[in-house]
Symmetry: C2
Subunit: 299 residues, 2 copies
Amino acid sequence: MHRVKWTCIGALLALSSARAAELPPRPTVADVVKGSKPADWRALDPVNTLYMEVPGGRVVIELAPSFAPKHAANIRLLARENYFDGLAVIRAQENYVVQWGDADEKTPRPFKTAKATLPAEFTIPASSAPAFVRLPDGDVYAPEVGHANGFPVARDPKTGLAWLTHCYGMVGVGRDTAADSGGGSSLYVVIGHAPRHLDRNITVVGRVVAGMSLLTTLPRGTGPLGFYEQPSQHVPIATFRVAADVPLEQRSRLEVMRTDGATYQAVLDAQRKRGGPWTKYAVGKVDLCNAQIPVRAVP
Amino acid sequence: MHRVKWTCIGALLALSSARAAELPPRPTVADVVKGSKPADWRALDPVNTLYMEVPGGRVVIELAPSFAPKHAANIRLLARENYFDGLAVIRAQENYVVQWGDADEKTPRPFKTAKATLPAEFTIPASSAPAFVRLPDGDVYAPEVGHANGFPVARDPKTGLAWLTHCYGMVGVGRDTAADSGGGSSLYVVIGHAPRHLDRNITVVGRVVAGMSLLTTLPRGTGPLGFYEQPSQHVPIATFRVAADVPLEQRSRLEVMRTDGATYQAVLDAQRKRGGPWTKYAVGKVDLCNAQIPVRAVP
């Protein structure tokens, strides 16, 4: 944790306390990104990208249709039928989630051709997880973890199942008590320490790749579970669109680092083995939900 | 993740989809708290409690003098010498930290008897960790983890060392390059997924036990590392006091659950083995930084 910009003081102190052996310099994530090649990146597929316009700007969500095909298709349909436009963020729970959808119990927004509910898609056969690369660092919650096509994933060799994990920024489908009572009309994003106990209890549909702070800085709701207690507290969603339906010049041109190549392995290594001069101890491990997945503007 | 309050729809759907075997009901953390006894709790020690008054209210920090005695004493002294009063939150980095201190490089606030810097207190002998109770669920970053007197802790039997871990809400001491370039005049709190790579690189001094959302909802800084770029963006600290110095009637009367008793084990179990009807899959594990440490108003 760097102190402000007291570089002079810092330099002086560094000279005066060179007792401890300094760790060798190591490439940082920024260094790896800088040295990457175009083939290390994939542009977001506009059909699997959502733009949610809220006060302050745009939240960009990448859908994960390999893990939740029915829900991804239904959310796309909800967007295209303008289901979310004019609805709102209705919940912000500290160190947990921000959620959006329809808060109106009396006259809920009607569905057009999109479904209100769908069968749960909590897990998929592990063999269907696209381009899975295992993270060998271990995990508290699952026998195996890693990345599949830019998403954090867990799997269990015993059951042969894989699932998206509730890391910071992951987007899931709100539901009622029944496993199949969600359909994508109520969505939430993880804003705190990964609530991994939700894994396999929820259909996870994607990840926020830009605009997280538009949601994480929202006032926390004071009702149970962080729901806002007054409609006046709701944070309006102006529009919720599939990127493919947005004129080219209005799209966010982003790309995500491929997680199945050597460059991403270098990103992971940069996080495991940080070098000097600031770092005094390099732990040599990275937890699944701390493993950054770089996103950048298309150069 | 519960959908809003569509209880009727929820109930109907629950009836129609009772295919999956329902998990037996299990006590929740709230249930365990409700059933706890006075002896399961300890009041905050006013000498080890800090009140930081920021716009919107009070942040309450519990110091951990067992882990960082020199820094705890120095921070207390800084508070008593009004060091922080009128300084500001100067950094808010998404999914990382919020930091406060003196941003003025030209005319930095002078120190009185408090020290500007101190020797690092990154680790302590494991034998000194008060009332350590191991969490058997495993950890990615350390050989052993658990709780000591209400704080999340890691330790390594090989080195015989223990240290406070960078979980959400933990407070650390900003420093420059040198290990001993911090002293407590620049502090930060973890606001995202636990950045455990910082463990053993920083003197960790305590934990925010109330008021986190006053810091987590602050606008993110747009400068490098999330520092605010304009002084006008700084979030003022009105006062920063040791609770013992605050009139009794103005104190926050809080107590923290003891982490060395059977009731806290029940809290951990409630998080590992969640029951029906909402939960469909109980993972049976809890990660150190997901293990809630209950705080409540003194009844």
